[in-house]
């Protein structure tokens, strides 16, 4: 056996050591982005989730004007935390529709009464079927939909104050 082969096990050990060390030191990334960004929104019809807002279907999201689709639930704490940011987006001219995941009308009404209602239409997705069809992995999430009903951007997690300009920018881009 040639000389260099003696070093092979040590070399392999160091390579694996480096691999595992980098895996341990790298921060954990658990965000699963939807692969539906860039594709048309799946066809759906959902019943109304709140007493004072109409129901939502995929046709309502292809009106020629870009819109936001917020995925929320009355049982979701970060969804309450992002309520002021959604209000700010609405005041800045964004049109927002919503889908309430695994929810009940009385709970949605109570949630909106407490945290404010920035939504034009709210659909009820009792079995997460639209959520799964859109490749969304949790609540809250916000999708930017262009005027033709194509998903152009996905925001995962609650919208913080610093995210508002980015989302407005994406809406503007979608309108071009």
């Amino acid at each position: 056996m040639s000389r260099w082969a003696i070093w092979l096990p040590l070399g392999l050990f160091l390579a694996f050591f480096a691999l595992f060390a980098s895996g341990l030191l790298k921060p954990d990334d658990r965000v699963i982005a939807s692969k539906m960004v860039g594709k048309p929104i799946p066809a759906f019809t959902l019943p109304a989730a709140a007493s004072d807002r109409p129901a939502l279907s995929s046709a309502d999201l292809a009106t020629g004007k870009p819109r936001l689709l917020n995925i929320f639930a009355s049982w979701c704490v970060p969804c309450a935390a992002e309520a002021p940011q959604l209000m700010a987006l609405k005041q800045a001219g964004a049109e927002i529709d919503a889908v309430a995941i695994r929810d009940a009308r009385a709970d949605v009404d109570q949630f909106l009464g407490r945290w404010g209602n920035p939504y034009a239409r709210i659909g009820l997705d009792a079995r997460s079927s639209l959520q799964i069809a859109m490749g969304s992995s949790g609540v809250p999430e916000t999708f930017v939909i262009d005027g033709k009903g194509t998903i152009v951007h996905q925001h995962i997690g609650d919208i913080r104050a610093e995210d508002v300009p980015t989302i407005l920018e994406k809406l503007k881009e979608a309108g071009r």
Binding site: I32, D103, S128, Q131, I132, A133
Partner: protein, 137 residues
């Protein structure tokens, strides 16, 4: 006595931190009546990754989203859909990440090649040893 009553009452309390007030989807925790279809659904559910508890399959997870996915998979299999078609439908939405079954995509070629390469390396080392032993004897 009072403690006992309190403890018994606690048994009936709704979990405060439940993820959702809704009852689970119809087939989230109920098997299909046809055992052949249920086996098909189970094999698929064991290899679909839960989005909430990311190290579990949806068959193992108690997350409500996993329950909704199980129910949807069972209903679609009962309606005659092919398990692999459902898998690719999910991969289209969540990427290869969602499936525990390795695919044939180029990024996994080293994985498929590894056994062949390791076997070849083993034979090569063994041949060297045998030759040396012959030479010394």
């Amino acid at each position: 006595m009072r403690t006992l009553i309190a403890l018994i009452l606690m048994l009936f309390a709704a979990p405060v931190l439940a993820q959702s007030a809704l009852p689970p989807a119809p087939y989230a925790d109920r098997q299909l009546d046809d055992p052949r279809l249920e086996a098909k659904a189970r094999d698929l559910m064991m290899t679909i990754r839960c989005l909430t508890c990311q190290s579990q399959s949806i068959a193992d997870s108690n997350a409500s989203m996993a329950g909704d996915m199980r129910s949807q998979i069972r209903e679609r299999i009962a309606a005659g859909e092919d398990p692999e078609a459902i898998r690719s439908w999910l991969i289209e939405r969540y990427g290869d990440w969602v499936s525990y079954e390795p695919t044939a995509s180029p990024i996994l070629w080293p994985l498929w090649a590894a056994p062949v390469i390791l076997l070849a390396l083993g034979f090569w080392l063994m041949r060297g040893r045998i030759r040396r032993r012959k030479a010394s004897s």
